[in-house]
């Protein structure tokens, strides 16, 4: 009887612990809210400032000289799409390949060295990447889409590689063994069983990487420079959204600053839409994923 009382009664320690728990939870809640406020404020601010300059012309017209009025950023929108697209087309398969290597051959010497280099690259400031490509490519061949894409590629690769590696590492080893023991070659186990089972997470990593490079400014200043006109060749300087925002925001002309705000808003919403469509894609994919092979039944 006595023992029971000792166990079930509230001691002072219990109350103190409950109170402490409540206090800590409240702190965490408050901190999360505080962290979210500036984020929401940024979105509001960008929207507020930019929305007035958003119109059809913004998406279809070239920039006009200050004083003339009107004009748009179509050159920068297309330019960003080109440079980010080029970096992604190369960077996604390459980065995923490296991620697969890092995870599936993790104890090899090459993997250890590669992982070290990638970690260095991830933590390198992006402006350093820009200067590196400047020294490597721009000095010899001039500013170009290629140089810009190369800089973005260098930023994207380690992100995709490390992301893919971490995701694949979460798959327990017995799943690999199950595949191998069925007489499935290792590369098919990886590409047809492991990666599909974590595809949604891989897509998330890829989208985050694209969103990341879409907003990079510093490395592009050194590589793709900028251009007032539409793209004509991949080996000439090319306008990109972040760089054009940066330039227009510094002109001192109100009309240009307006355009810069509109550009910033488009950039923010682009990242939003990327996230949104990723989720949408995954939602529908999840539905048919299960019947991927089953569809063969009439």
């Amino acid at each position: 009887m006595k023992a029971k009382q000792v166990i079930w009664s509230y001691s002072l320690g219990d109350r103190w612990r409950k109170w402490l728990n409540f206090f800590m939870l409240s702190c965490l809640f408050l901190l999360s809210v505080i962290a979210a406020v500036p984020f929401l404020f940024i979105i509001y601010y960008v929207f507020d400032k930019g929305v007035s300059a958003i119109n059809w012309d913004f998406f279809t017209q070239l920039p006009k000289p200050p004083g003339e009025g009107g004009g748009g950023m179509s050159n920068a929108l297309i330019g960003s799409a080109v440079v980010v697209g080029m970096a992604s087309v190369v960077g996604i398969p390459w980065g995923m390949g490296m991620g697969v290597y890092l995870s599936e051959y993790k104890s090899t010497k090459t993997a250890k060295i590669l992982r070290f280099v990638i970690d260095l690259l991830i933590s390198a400031p992006s402006i350093v990447v820009g200067i590196f490509i400047y020294g490597l490519i721009v000095i010899r061949y001039g500013f170009s889409s290629y140089a810009g894409a190369a800089a973005l590629l260098l930023i994207m690769l380690p992100v995709v590689a490390r992301g893919t590696e971490e995701i694949l590492k979460m798959i327990p080893n017995h799943i690999r063994e199950a595949g191998l023991a069925l007489g499935i070659p290792r590369w098919k186990v990886i590409t047809r069983i492991l990666i599909p089972s974590v595809l949604s997470m891989c897509v998330t990593v890829i989208m985050l990487a694209i969103a990341r490079i879409a907003g990079e400014t510093a490395p592009l200043l050194f590589t793709s420079l900028g251009n007032q006109y539409h793209i004509r060749s991949l080996s000439e300087p090319i306008a990109t959204l972040p760089v054009q925002i940066y330039e227009f925001a510094n002109t001192g002309f109100e009309q240009m600053e307006q355009q810069a705000w509109a550009g910033a808003m488009v950039l923010v919403f682009f990242v939003f839409f990327i996230n949104f469509f990723t989720r949408l894609f995954l939602f529908f994919r999840k539905k048919d994923r299960v019947g991927f092979y089953s569809k063969m039944r009439k």
């Binding site: 799943i175 191998l180 007489g183 299960v290 092979y293 089953s294 063969m296």
Partner: protein, 254 residues
Amino acid sequence: MKETKTLVKIQDLSASFFSIPVLKNIDLEIPIHKVVALIGPSGCGKSTFLRCLNRMHEEVSGAGIQGQVFLEGQNIYAPYIDPVLVRRKVGMVFQKPNPFPGLSIFDNVAVGLKLMGVKRKVLFERVENSLKQAALWDEVKDILKRQGTSLSGGQQQRLCIARTLAINPSVVLMDEPTSALDPISTARIEGLIRELKEKVTVIIVTHNMQQASRVSDKTAFLLSGELIEYGKTSQIFTNPSKGKTESYITGRFG
């Protein structure tokens, strides 16, 4: 007495991890269409032995192997032999049921066939047959599109057996296939194993002496990487010729 054909012949097989010997000069002959049980205390090398028979041992880092394993007269360790093809002839069922995540019940069985290049036309039939052989068809025929991982543990293990049978192996290795299952699921799988030997040869590792005596025709006793005794199950369990075997099966060590 009727002479039975040998399907797997293991000759002077030794295996190691990081140069530490785990199996020592094992010689063993596995007769066709029989169930052979492998018993012995934990860590004596039973799993390693099984994994040497389908060339899965070499997938682990630090693994070393010597000796020969003949399957239908062919040494599977001959340099020109592709381990992938060996594994299609020698299937494996693991201790923990491990259906492929994200794949439906149907796909779990179909994926091996699909990646081997089996034609769509016959795919469904082969999946159905395999599920029937694994005594799972009646339970899953209406829910083939559900995730394989949504099944119960016992059903998942039968799904893994079906997946293995689908590619038509001549030998199926089972590493403590029921140790993670409840008694009813265990009984079902034991019944299944007895039926399976009509078609395939089964080598099963078990910690359960009753299970070994219920399902197997022959039993091998391993101790510290050495084969102590190998013979008819009835004889091993009633009248073992070695003292160590008797101590083990009567529960005196291990």
